[in-house]
């Protein structure tokens, strides 16, 4: 950005100073960032634990390619995605129930 009065360099320097201010004031402590990382990783682990039949099974995909006529494939793909969502929802509900005891 070449405009006078608003060069990117000064904006980035101001942003870096802001980060120091936010951290030293305790408004956004460093541990908040670490907590965000940990929370997303936890969400990722749980999401990836849920079976994703339509996405993961290469054998199923190969079979589908052999038996589903080309014209029917968009509809079949949509049905597989819907089925996958249902399976995921059912698995998640079951898992929550088990976790709650």
């Amino acid at each position: 950005m070449a405009d006078e009065g608003a060069p990117v360099g000064s904006l980035l320097r101001d942003a870096a100073r802001e980060v120091e201010r936010l951290r030293s004031s305790g408004l956004v402590p460093e541990r908040f960032e670490r907590e965000l990382d940990a929370r997303f990783e936890a969400a990722a682990v749980r999401a990836l634990r849920v079976p994703a039949f339509a996405e993961r099974s290469a054998r199923l995909r190969a079979l589908a390619r052999r038996v589903v006529p080309r014209a029917a494939r968009p509809a079949a793909r949509a049905a597989a995605r819907a089925g996958d969502r249902l399976l995921r929802a059912a698995y998640t509900r079951l898992e929550s129930t088990v976790r709650r005891g």
């Binding site: 608003a6 980035l12 951290r23 956004v28 960032e33 936890a42 749980r46 994703a52």
Partner: protein, 364 residues
């Protein structure tokens, strides 16, 4: 060599609201304007594209050197094998292939396809007479893969994405929310791990905490698989941001225009982009851009936005705050963005495409 009668295109998959697909349709229009017969052949044809695209199985065998093929390369596919087997002269248009390491955790088959794509790119190099790349970043990768003749031709941006008027119902909804206060962050792109929407949510959480508890984040784009968006939704809910973060999925062009019209800032934290057409659309529509400087993003943003050397959440939040807190800075960014977007107008990209095809024909 004599001028070919037809230049057909081959593409692994073609869908609506997709930059490479839009580029392919526009390329077809141009090839026909240049006097070539031209059809599009795809292995996967998405809803809404059926009448304009033919299945790859129908690709005619070459009748000689007057039938050329142009391959749109962005992922590994059996379509590349059909392209390789064709006897006529070949062109390739490279849109980059997402590194497998960024996606395979979430969608293992896509990781395999990405690896296959890189291998196919190298195998096709000795067969391709001339290659196009939509950024210098992509052209450099083509050079490493062994493509001797190559030229940068920017993405043929969908005119509709730039000129369509906002959908009034979506606009009214977004404006009602805006009237209650709070900034609107926007990102447009496939919901996928390499686009790093999770980093966007982290930065947005810091921004709300530090500056603007009423801010909203709009994530617009179709989802890639269900695992990543599942994790993203879970993450958003866990942070208590369910009412502040909107994930729209794929939207019609007019709804997209409404999102651009109401956005205060376009924030892109992608780890990989071969071009990033939505950044150009944001600059064109007067939305200031803040983007992580990864892959081809620095080239596309140029001096038209804020390029971040890192994307620690608090740093991103502070940078967005610096943009939005100063009217002078915001206005300067919008002006710089407009100048940069002018480099990527459809007319300029069309001229570059025509010139590349003319050169390829002259050299062959």
């Amino acid at each position: 060599m004599s001028r070919p009668e037809r230049i057909d295109q081959v593409i692994p998959a073609i869908v609506e609201h997709d930059a490479v697909s839009n580029h392919t349709f526009e390329a077809q229009r141009l090839l026909r304007e240049m006097g070539f017969a031209s059809e599009i052949y795809a292995r996967i044809i998405g809803p809404g594209c059926g009448g304009r695209v033919r299945p790859i199985d129908e690709l005619p065998g070459s009748s000689g050197r007057d039938h050329w093929l142009l391959y749109q390369s962005s992922i590994g596919s059996p379509a590349a094998e059909a392209f390789a087997a064709h006897r006529g002269p070949k062109l390739l248009d490279y849109h980059n292939i997402t590194p497998a390491r960024l996606v395979e955790r979430w969608l293992p088959p896509l990781g395999d396809e990405a690896r296959l794509g890189r291998a196919q790119l190298a195998r096709l190099a000795p067969l391709v007479a001339y290659a196009l790349a939509d950024s210098a970043f992509n052209a450099a990768e083509l050079g490493e893969a062994g493509y001797a003749r190559r030229r940068v031709v920017p993405v043929l941006v969908d005119r509709g994405n730039i000129e369509t008027a906002p959908a009034t119902d979506v606009l009214a909804r977004l404006e009602r929310a805006k009237a209650g206060g709070g900034a609107d962050w926007l990102f447009v792109g496939q919901v996928a791990p390499h686009k790093a929407q999770h980093d966007l949510v982290k930065a947005f959480a810091c921004y709300r905490l530090a500056y603007d508890p009423g801010a909203r984040l709009h994530i617009v784009g179709r989802e890639m698989g269900s695992a990543y968006i599942g994790a993203l939704r879970r993450f958003v809910d866990d942070l208590g941001l369910g009412s502040a973060v909107e994930m729209t999925g794929s939207v019609p062009t007019a709804a997209l225009a409404a999102h651009f019209a109401c956005a205060d800032v376009f924030v892109c934290l992608s780890d990989h982009e071969g071009f990033c057409a939505p950044v150009v659309e944001a600059m064109h529509r007067g939305v200031p851009v803040v983007a992580f400087a990864a892959a081809a993003v620095p080239e596309t943003v140029g001096e038209g936005g804020v390029l971040l050397p890192q994307k620690a959440p608090t740093f991103v939040a502070a940078a967005v705050h610096e943009v939005l807190a100063s009217a002078a800075r915001r206005e300067a960014l919008v002006a710089a963005g407009a100048r940069q977007a002018a480099r990527f107008t459809l007319d300029a990209a069309r001229a570059a495409f025509r010139s590349a095809i003319d050169e390829a024909v002259a050299l062959a």
